[in-house]
Chain length 200, copies 4
């Protein structure tokens, strides 16, 4: 097991790390992922290129970390979905919000960047599932289990499948721009999913 490099993480400059992630995030918003370069990140962060290459294996990894930092700061205290007792209403609220987020140009570019990377990089995909998707998924399942207890969802429903059916069409439509992402679509998805998994 011959490591080629083993930089001493204890000596790592927190100042540089933060500056790099911030610069990456800003640049994605400004010029888009496709035109993002390591040199530009380094320049904007006031950092040597080597400092980036020392700590990240690829441009995609930097971008991933920069977005991860963003998402982590959001859910510092854990993510909780609304629970009014009405699963349909709550899911519509959440899905409409997600759809709106996709439409926000501020969010659009980074998320497209992230998806581009994930599609083509196995390891990044794994990191995404663990670090970014998992906490969100767990929060959603929490709400679904509550609905199961309330008898609004089949007790034996496969929650992973439920979430796939609920969210994948939304994401897909956004990625491929194959249709409008309006409230009607969000509502229709919720209704469809609940219909498929309603208690017998």
């Amino acid at each position: 097991m011959a490591e080629r490099k083993a930089p001493d993480a204890s000596r790592r400059s927190e100042r540089s790390r933060t500056a790099i992630l911030t610069a990456a995030r800003e640049l994605i918003g400004e010029i888009g992922y496709g035109k993002l370069t390591i040199e530009a990140i380094a320049a904007r962060a006031g950092v040597g290129k080597q400092t980036i290459y020392r700590w990240w294996p690829s441009k995609g990894a930097v971008v991933f970390d920069s977005l991860l930092a963003l998402s982590e700061q959001a859910d510092g205290a854990g993510i909780v979905l609304p629970d009014t007792g009405d699963i349909e209403a709550d899911l519509k609220t959440v899905l409409r919000a997600t759809a709106a987020e996709f439409a926000d140009p501020e969010f659009e570019k980074p998320i497209r960047a992230l998806n581009t990377e994930i599609i083509n990089d196995r390891e990044l995909a794994a990191a995404y599932r663990e670090k970014m998707a998992a906490p969100m998924t767990e929060a959603k399942k929490q709400r679904l289990r509550s609905a199961q207890r309330a008898g609004q969802l089949a007790a034996d429903a496969d929650l992973d499948l439920f979430l796939d059916v609920l969210y994948a069409p939304l994401t897909q439509r956004w990625l491929l721009r194959s249709g409008p992402l309006d409230d009607a679509f969000a509502d229709a998805l919720v209704e469809t999913a609940l219909r498929a998994f309603r208690p017998r």
Copy 2:
């Protein structure tokens, strides 16, 4: 209003066009989309770079055309889905086949390449929907309408939504590698979708 370029399509060399598309397809399979370069395509095709720039606006467009050529040769005679009269069985057959295709490394790289391009290029996304997705979608709807007539599907079902619910989870799982693409998953999707849209 003088166009800057107006290449005379009637003089276009079919030999070069074919060689370029073939080279592009081969290279995607060999080195992947990310490392694909115009120079490599030109070299492999035995063609000057200018000949590529003359006829395509971007690398993505070449790649798209090369995969389009592939898909067109497949459905020259039109696509027809099996219709045994049992919509559930037929859809399971089709979805299992699609899942298997995704698992085939031969198909995997080009489709990932295509998705990468489409996500980040509006025009390519439109071209994809028109040239590649539309015929497929139409064939699927054909089969679904047959099921509606047979009373196996709600007569007022939104077929676009149905197809989204049926296929998006599959594509998503494949793109993000978020779970196994086995027969069980394909079957579960078909059952879920049909449950959501069964006649009242």
Copy 3:
């Protein structure tokens, strides 16, 4: 005999070639050979770095060519040394001029640069002897042969040796800064050399 690259010299841009050589010469004068970089040459010449790497194997080669161009433009019509009939007076004139040239800061930097390169590069040394030293040496020998015919120099004198004895001390003293390069020194060298090779 597998050549790795074989750029087509017939397509070479004369404009670029000239700009590069000029830029190199100017920069040597301004910042010195040690701090000279290919990037700076390219930038000053308004040229891509690749255009330099395409046509020259090393920084030293560029510098050499730039000085060669300089020397060639000087002796377009051939070099002729003064011949008043008095070899001692003529040589003193020439050596004093050479010493003065060495003292001129304008000439100093390029020549030091050249020597630095030549010392450490066999091929450059060969090129120097052929392209730059040889014509000069031939001109000097011409004058010496005239002196031999006039009976001012031993008829069987080894002219190469004579020139070494005459010039090497001058060059050496200049390179190592081991003593003053004044007229007295030039005169002394001439007298010494002539004394050693006077006719018996």
Copy 4:
């Protein structure tokens, strides 16, 4: 007027100093002066880079010191040239030995390195003259004075000039590789120099 650096020489690690000079000398022999780097010296010597920068102002200075150490160990007891009473024979012996040394690849690289440095660095040139050349020159003059007393050399001969005429052609030819450095050349130089400075 506070010096920016004032390392306390009394605390200097002799172990490090020696290791650095040894490493420098070895590396010059192995990879040549041009490719020599401070980092490589530090790594080979098992020393931090700062320890080098603390005690030497430039790479050239390290190299110089490393070669100085070499030459000092050689002439600890003072240098004495052979004195058989026959100045011509003695000088031929010495010059032939010098020529042979130049041909020895072991000696070649360091001396070329040294010359490269000296040519471009005034201070190093001065140090060279004082520390390395001077003792050698003095030893040679000693022998020449003996020859003057023996009537084999003009009593009023300029010994510095004599040494220049004798050695510079040899050094020059070696540096520029402009001719063979054989015994014949060494002998011819001695004969020429003696002819120029023989007693009247």
